[in-house]
Amino acid sequence: MSTAVADVHEVPVGSHVNYLNASYGIKSWLFTTDHKRIALLYLASITFMFFIGGTAAVLMRIHLIEPQGALVQPETYNKLFSIHGIVMVFFFLVPSIPATLGNFLVPMMIGARDLAFPKLNLLSWYVYIVGAIFTLYAIISGGVDTGWTFYTPFSSLYSQTHVIATALGVFITGFSSILTGLNFIVTIHKMRAPGMTWFRLPLFIWAMYATSVIFILGTPVVAIAMFLVGLERLLHVGIFDPAVGGDPLLFQHLFWFYSHPAVYIMILPAMGVISELVTCFAKKRIFGYSIVAFSSMAIAVISFLVWGHHMFVTGQSVYAGLIFSVLSFLVAIPSAIKVFNWTSTLYKGSISYEAPMLYALGFIGLFTMGGLTGLFLASLATDVHLSGTYFIVAHFHYIMVGGAVMGYLGGIHFWWPKITGRLYPDAWARFAALVVFVGFNLTFFPQFMLGYLGMPRRYAVYPEEFQVLNVMSSAGASILGVGYLIPLIYLIWSMRYGPAAGPNPWGARGLEWETPSPPPTENFEEIPVVTEEAYNYTGARQTLG
């Protein structure tokens, strides 16, 4: 079958009973336990939160065109960057791929009918919504100005904003992650179809598994951190107040113990997506399957050992610094291995350039750069100069946006036909990918330079010599914003007007592609029996239409 995306299937859209049309009405959605519908509930919610966080970013970048600030008062700017960080980290990036693509695909990829605990899955979405409501309430009623990091004693004793409501929102939403992670781990362990051994699993599943390990082990600790801050604010007790024997750095340890692994929660799923995209669009088996699988697990484990690199300039002992530094260098190695393996997968492949592949290739390059800039920060001597500056901002945006968001967009585009039964216009999609790539680099590359020059982050006003680079960054942000709006438009358009998609428009391998698009509620009529390795692109030709 041709893999050209514009192929129109003969059978009209939705003529078979699938999970979308199996039942109608708002109650059938709000009380669903179907993992596919829950994935869509999440998709809508996190997209909404993404545009809230994105709006904050746009306002920030407009403001920073002028050294004295072009738009808002410093107090408001401080709230903007706090809201941007909190919403983007906790309400977009952490759930993004796991709660949408993960929820949709994990059962399908392993040949199961649903996750192990479908009702827990629905509960996790409601928990997310409750957490989001608390945070949105905090934003609407005046905002929060602690930064997404909530450092004490500023957050516990000095801030005059809605810290408790926000901390509560973050605390509650953490349980959503925990439930999702728990569900994934049990599902992957216990519900694989016959013949689906661990080493035949798609690497996306390995990525989900590794991510889930971090979900369940890390999230409870940040819950405690948030709880203690709320407790201190509420009862005026001195848990983090040095005047009564408290230690403000204890908060930082508790916070970063989760928040460093959290960044791997954000990137591992994207890496899993990339493995799927690169293999499909190069029509090749992944190069070094087991190495990539083990690297995912290694990243998850080592990620728990490096949190102190966020605290190199807090006055921690030189010895602690050395240990965290060497471990931080170590955690870079598995990621490097993956980059080489993905690139090698392209060798002698049969490569096509649909939008998902463009996102995947962009990811590999940008993640390489973002990851390598992490070495500047693992390195103690340079981190002293760069910590707390725009270099950090650029580093994590290269990974989070150049990496995770592009992986997310690539995955959404790749599985969109499966999820909706529709094809989107690929020309627009490729154009948008290009716009995102250009806008992204223009926004964040100047920030590396700003950081090295010494411009600190979270500055509402700045010295004049930094203006040119800031203006470049803001110009890039406007392009990036447009780049994100374009998919919103054509993807929504495609849900109604896009041509029908067959079961496998890309000619991909994987159990999810052996079902109709959209799939029926129970996924498979008969649970499949798996007899081949993952990514069997060089085996029997794909014949499904």
């Binding site: 410093p74 000095y158 492949g349 070495l375 390195s379 707390g388 509402a460 006003v461």
Partner: protein
């Protein structure tokens, strides 16, 4: 409207000409301390490594994208699943690079962590949203730090309220400034000039305005500046004045006949406390004694010292410490 704003800036909106708007974009901050060159060398090596690998990956991808683009729908790529020697190579080389970088960076860091013995000490108190600096000779500055060139300077710092951070990009030094404890950094300036001080840890509404300047001067100019203006009592003298005013002198009698120990010759020694642990009598301990006295009582003394928390600010604590330090130079008397 963003484009209008950008156009305005570039077309002489605020008195800036097009030429100056396109003036060379700054690449490197001034390198004005003894460690700056070393840090920059490491930084530029890391930059080179980053660019090298980014270019290699991007260009390899680009090359493969073109060379192996799909020619026909029926083509079957070869099965190439793994190559263990290659995996070892591209695990080994990055590991080696990381090991080298780690040791290089760690040794720089360790070198830069310990202030030379003969450092001149200056005291810094950060508070929302300004820097208060005190020279031992007594001169006080706000948001400004005058120092002589070529002399190692140690800053001992604390905060009155939240966590701040003292950052001088030109010197490549930065350290968090915390409430309730002392942190320190050191530098030796190599070039006269004026350099930014930034607060590097978000601290509330005016965080971005908690900035200042370091003025590095020739030693003779510095000496002149130090002694110029109104006469100042040194920090130790101010401390001695406080010592009397607050009543410390009533208990801490120098001949050890008071309710508290004499503080002569005490600074810098290791002392065993009532609780059994041995502590070095340094700035941190003296501050603790002033704020949480009953946690650092000496043996054979009753735990009756009152706390002075809330009665004096951090700058006054530093003055008292300076006084106790000056006593420490004298011979130890009594118990």
């Amino acid at each position: 409207m963003i484009s209008a704003e950008i156009a305005r800036i570039f077309l002489d909106g605020g008195g800036r000409s097009l030429a100056s708007a396109l003036a060379p974009i700054p690449i490197r901050p001034p390198a004005a301390s003894t460690i700056a060159e070393g840090v920059d060398k490491l930084h530029f090596t890391l930059t080179g490594i980053t660019l090298f690998f980014t270019v290699i990956i991007f260009s390899t991808i680009f090359f493969f994208m073109i060379k192996y683009r799909r020619q026909s729908e029926d083509e079957v790529p070869p099965e190439i699943e793994k190559n263990v020697p290659l995996e070892i190579l591209w695990t080994g080389i990055p590991t080696l690079i990381c090991v080298v970088l780690f040791f290089w960076s760690a040794s720089l860091y360790i070198q830069n962590a310990r202030p030379p013995d003969a450092s001149t000490e200056i005291f810094v108190v950060g508070k929302q949203w300004m820097w208060h600096l005190q020279h031992p000779e007594g001169v006080r500055e706000i948001n400004e730090l005058h120092v002589p060139v070529g002399v190692p300077i140690k800053l001992t710092m604390t905060s009155e309220d939240v966590i701040h951070d003292f950052y001088v990009p030109a010197f490549r030094v930065k350290k968090d400034v915390l409430p309730g404890r002392y942190s320190s950094l050191w530098f030796q300036a190599t070039k006269t000039g004026t350099y930014h001080i930034f607060c590097g840890q978000y601290c509330g509404a005016e965080h971005a305005q908690m900035i200042g300047w370091v003025y590095v001067m020739e030693p003779s100019d510095y000496a002149a500046w130090l002694s110029g203006g109104a006469s100042h009592e040194s920090m130790a003298q101010a401390g001695e004045r406080l010592f009397t005013q607050l009543g410390c002198v009533t208990c801490h009698v120098t001949d050890n006949t008071g309710r508290g120990p004499s503080l002569v010759g005490l600074y810098g020694k290791a002392e065993k406390l009532r609780s059994g642990e041995t502590r070095l009598v340094d700035e941190a301990l003296i501050r603790q004694a002033i704020v949480f006295p009953n946690s650092v009582i000496l043996p054979n003394y009753p735990p009756v010292m009152p706390t002075f928390q809330g009665q004096i600010n951090e700058e006054q604590v530093l003055q008292l410490i300076a006084y106790v330090k000056s006593l420490g130079m004298q011979e130890r008397t009594g118990k």
